[in-house]
C-alpha cells in the first residue's frame, strides 16, 4: 500500500522541501495553496515548495523574526508592506533583483513601493491592493443621494443624511491607519513623514500632527462620538466587511481585496475612489498589501526553487487566475490594462486610483510603522473616548512615533541598505 502511494506521488528531487510562509487564511489561503500545488506539479525536477500559513501579517512577521534569530527561517516569506524598512536594514534578505531578471512589465506603483532608492527591486509584490470606497446604491438612494461622496465634506453630509433617514449604521470601520492615515494622505498628496516620506534619510520624523491629516483626525473623532461612523465591533456582524455585505451599513472604506466578499451583491454596490478634501487635487494612491521576501542563509537549491516560483507567479495566466480569485490587483501592467471596466469594479477603481508610470505617489518608508499604526489607533480611541482633544492625541501619537524613529536611526546607524 505504501509502495503504491510512493509510486503514484510526484517524484520531486530529494531533499527537505523549501518552506514558504504566507499570511492569509480563508479563500485567499486556499488560492495560495492552489498556486503551490500547481507549481509543484509543473516543476517535479526541483525541490518541492511547502506552503505554510502562519496567521495574520503581524504574526507572520513575529514568527519570521524568531525563526531567523534561531537560524530556522523559511526561504520565502510573505510580509506586509509596512515591514519594508525594517527588513531592508535587517541584513536578512536577498533582493529579488539578484535572482530574477528585471522586467518593465510590473505595475509601476507596486514596483516603486518595493524598490530601493536606486530602483532595484527588493521584494516581489504579491497581494497588491489599495483603498477604495464601497457604497450601497439602494441605501444612498433612500437617503436622497445619487452619487457616492467624492469629498470628505460630502462624506460627512452623506453620513448625516443616511442617519436622518433611518440607517442605524451609516458606515462602520476598523479605523485601520492604513486607510485613514497612509492611504488618505497619499491621495491628497500630503507626506506622512519628513525627508521625502522617509526615503531621503533615517532622520525623518512624522509630520501628520500638522497639516490636513489633523482635520481628518478631528472629523473621525467627531463622527465616532456622534455615532455616524461606528466601530466595527459595535455592529451585529462585528466586522466592517461583513457589516457592509449584510446590508447593515451603507458605506465602507476598505481594500480592493475585499471585493470577493461583496461580489454577490455587485448590482447594489458602487466602488469609487477615496474621498479628498474639497479644493484639493486628487493625487495617485499608494499600494498596500504584501510582498514576497527571499531570506538569506539558505542552500543553493532553495534559491533555484524560489527563483522558479517567483517567475511562475509572474506568468500572465497565473496572475489572471489569482487576481480574479482573490480580488488583488495583478502584478503586471499589461494585465492591469486588460482589467479596466468589466466585472471587477473594485480592481478597476483601484488601478485607476494608482495612476500611471509618470505620476507615482511616494510611499511611506520608515521603520517601526507597526508601532506607529498602533499609536495612531490608540490615540484615536483615547480622543473618541474624550480622554484628550484630537489635536493633543495626534501630537502624542507623533511624539511616540518619533521616539521609535529615533531608536531606529540609532540602532541602524552603521547599517547599509541592500
Amino acid at each position: 500500500m505504501l509502495l503504491v502511494l510512493v509510486g503514484t506521488a510526484p517524484s520531486h528531487a530529494q531533499g527537505v522541501p523549501i518552506t514558504f510562509w504566507y499570511a492569509h487564511g480563508g479563500s485567499v489561503g486556499q488560492a495560495i495553496q492552489a498556486l503551490c500545488q500547481d507549481f509543484n506539479a509543473r516543476h517535479p525536477q526541483l525541490r518541492a515548495l511547502a506552503c505554510i500559513a502562519q496567521g495574520t501579517y503581524e504574526q507572520t512577521l513575529q514568527k519570521t523574526v524568531a525563526a531567523y534569530r534561531s537560524h530556522q527561517a523559511p526561504a520565502l516569506v510573505e510580509l506586509y508592506d509596512v515591514a519594508t524598512q525594517d527588513l531592508l536594514y535587517s541584513g536578512a534578505i536577498r533582493p529579488v533583483a539578484d535572482l530574477l531578471p528585471d522586467t518593465d512589465d510590473l505595475l509601476p506603483a507596486a514596483r516603486r513601493y518595493y524598490s530601493n532608492n536606486a530602483g532595484r527591486l527588493l521584494a516581489q509584490p504579491f497581494s497588491i491592493s489599495t483603498a477604495v470606497l464601497y457604497s450601497r446604491r439602494s441605501a444612498l438612494a433612500q437617503a436622497g443621494l445619487d452619487q457616492p461622496p467624492a469629498t470628505w465634506e460630502a462624506f460627512d453630509s452623506a453620513l448625516r443624511q443616511l442617519r436622518a433617514h433611518g440607517q442605524r449604521c451609516p458606515a462602520a470601520s476598523d479605523f485601520n491607519p492604513w486607510i485613514w492615515l497612509e492611504q488618505s494622505s497619499a491621495v491628497q498628496g500630503v507626506a506622512v513623514a519628513s525627508e521625502d516620506n522617509g526615503w531621503a534619510s533615517l532622520a525623518a520624523r512624522y509630520r501628520f500632527a500638522q497639516g490636513p491629516q489633523t482635520r481628518l483626525f478631528a472629523d473621525l473623532v467627531a463622527w465616532r462620538q456622534a455615532g455616524l461612523l461606528l466601530d466595527q465591533r459595535l455592529t451585529r456582524s462585528g466586522q466592517q466587511d461583513l457589516a457592509f455585505a449584510s446590508g447593515e451599513c451603507a458605506l465602507l472604506l476598505a481594500s480592493t481585496g475585499s471585493w470577493p466578499n461583496l461580489a454577490a451583491q455587485a448590482d447594489d454596490i458602487q466602488v469609487s475612489p477615496l474621498p479628498v478634501f474639497a479644493g484639493r487635487v486628487r493625487r495617485p494612491a499608494v499600494v498596500g498589501g504584501s510582498a514576497l521576501w527571499v531570506l538569506r542563509g539558505q542552500p543553493a537549491e532553495a534559491y533555484t526553487t524560489i527563483t522558479a516560483f517567483l517567475a511562475y507567479l509572474r506568468e500572465p495566466g497565473v496572475q489572471a487566475n489569482f487576481s480574479a480569485r482573490t480580488g488583488f490587483l495583478p502584478l503586471s501592467a499589461t494585465q492591469a490594462k486588460g482589467l479596466q471596466g468589466g466585472d471587477q469594479p473594485a480592481q478597476a477603481a483601484g488601478l485607476a486610483a494608482l495612476g500611471g508610470q509618470d505620476q507615482l505617489a511616494i510611499p511611506l518608508r520608515v521603520g517601526f510603522i507597526t508601532q506607529l499604526r498602533r499609536f495612531w489607533l490608540e490615540e484615536l480611541e483615547a480622543a473618541s473616548a474624550g480622554q484628550r482633544s484630537p489635536a493633543a492625541a495626534l501630537q502624542r501619537a507623533a511624539r511616540r512615533g518619533d521616539a521609535q524613529l529615533a531608536l531606529f536611526q540609532e540602532t541602524y546607524r552603521h547599517a547599509v541598505q541592500p
Partner: protein, 301 residues
C-alpha cells in the same frame, strides 16, 4: 509546629530539586538575564550588531507618555481584580460556614472555574460582552449606546476586572475556606452561647483571626495579576480602547513581540521584575512577622 524531619545526606535534597531547578534556570532565569542584557543595548530584531547604550533605554522609557497610562491601568486592574476576587471568595467561604445542605457539592463546584484559563475566559467574555448580540445588549435598547466596552475605557476595565476575579475566585475561596476552618470552634460556640448571630461571629471573631491569611492572599493575588493575566487581556480587550487596559505585561508583548522594539520591551520587563520583587519582599518581611506573632497566640489555647 517545629521541624522534625532530618535528612542525613548532604546532596540528596539537591538532587531531588534538580529537575525543577533546571526548569527554573531555562525558562525563568535565562530569559530574565537575556532581557537584562538587551535592556542595556540597542537590539536589531533580526539579529546583528547589538550596541551597548547603558541606561538610554530606561531613560527613553521614562519619557514615554504611555508608560504612565500603563502603570495606572496595571494598578487599577491589579487592585480591583484582587480585591473583587477576595471579596467573592470570602463571601462564598463564609456562606459555606453556615453549614447548609449540599455544601460539599458547592465546595467542589466553586473550584471548577480555576481550570478555565484566562485566555479561554477572555474569548467567552468577549462574545458575552457584544453590544449587539450579547446578554447585555438589552442595555443598549433601554439606553442607546450605553453598553460599549470596545469603545468606553471604564467599561473595558470593569469587564477585565470581572473576568480576572472570575478566574481567581476559586483560589481565594479555597484559601479562605481553609483559614476559616482553622479558627477554633470553641470561640464560635462560646459566642453563639452568648447570643451572637452568624454575621456578628464572622465580623468580630473569624475575620480578625484570619487577618494574616487575608494579607497573604492579597499579596499573592497582586503578584498573580501582575504576572499571569496576559492571556485574559490578549483575548478580551487587547489593551482596550486606546491604551486604557494595557497592563504592563501586555505592553511588554505589544512593544517587543509585535512592535519589534526588543530593547524597550526588555527595559520594561526589568521594571516589571523590580515591581514583583518589591511586592515579594513586602510579603516576606511585612507579613511573615505578623504570621508568627498571631500563630503563636493560636498555639497557646
Amino acid at each position: 509546629m517545629t521541624a522534625s524531619a532530618h535528612f542525613p545526606q548532604r546532596y540528596l535534597p539537591l538532587l531531588f530539586a534538580l529537575p525543577q531547578l533546571l526548569a527554573l534556570l531555562l525558562f525563568f532565569y535565562w530569559p530574565a538575564l537575556q532581557a537584562a542584557w538587551w535592556s542595556l543595548h540597542l537590539v536589531p530584531p533580526f539579529g546583528g550588531q547589538e550596541t551597548y547604550v547603558g541606561l538610554a533605554n530606561y531613560r527613553r522609557l521614562l519619557q514615554d507618555p504611555a508608560l504612565l497610562d500603563s502603570l495606572r491601568a496595571t494598578l487599577v486592574f491589579s487592585l480591583g481584580g484582587t480585591l473583587l476576587a477576595m471579596g467573592l471568595g470570602l463571601v462564598l467561604a463564609a456562606c459555606l460556614e453556615l453549614r447548609l445542605r449540599g455544601r460539599r457539592l458547592w465546595r467542589n463546584l466553586l473550584v471548577w472555574p480555576y481550570a478555565v484559563s484566562g485566555a479561554t475566559l477572555g474569548v467567552i467574555f468577549q462574545a458575552l460582552a457584544s453590544p449587539a448580540i450579547g446578554p447585555l445588549a438589552w442595555l443598549n435598547q433601554v439606553l442607546p449606546d450605553s453598553w460599549a466596552p470596545q469603545t468606553e475605557p471604564w467599561q473595558a476595565m470593569a469587564l477585565l476586572i470581572v473576568g480576572y476575579a472570575w478566574c481567581q475566585m476559586p483560589f481565594t475561596f479555597l484559601m479562605f475556606v481553609a483559614s476559616l476552618q482553622a479558627v477554633p470552634d470553641d470561640y464560635l460556640a462560646a459566642a453563639a452561647l452568648d447570643g451572637a448571630t452568624s454575621w456578628q461571629r464572622l465580623r468580630d471573631i473569624q475575620l480578625p483571626l484570619i487577618r494574616p491569611y487575608l494579607a497573604f492572599v492579597f499579596v499573592i493575588g497582586l503578584l498573580d495579576s501582575l504576572a499571569n493575566s496576559f492571556g485574559l487581556v490578549d483575548t478580551l480587550t487587547q489593551g482596550g480602547p486606546g491604551d486604557s487596559t494595557q497592563i504592563l505585561a501586555y505592553k511588554i508583548y505589544r512593544d517587543g513581540v509585535v512592535g519589534l522594539d526588543l530593547a524597550g520591551s526588555s527595559a520594561l520587563s526589568m521594571l516589571l521584575l523590580l515591581l514583583v520583587v518589591a511586592l515579594s519582599l513586602l510579603q516576606c518581611w511585612g507579613l511573615a512577622r505578623r504570621c508568627t506573632r498571631l500563630g503563636g497566640s493560636h498555639g497557646r489555647t
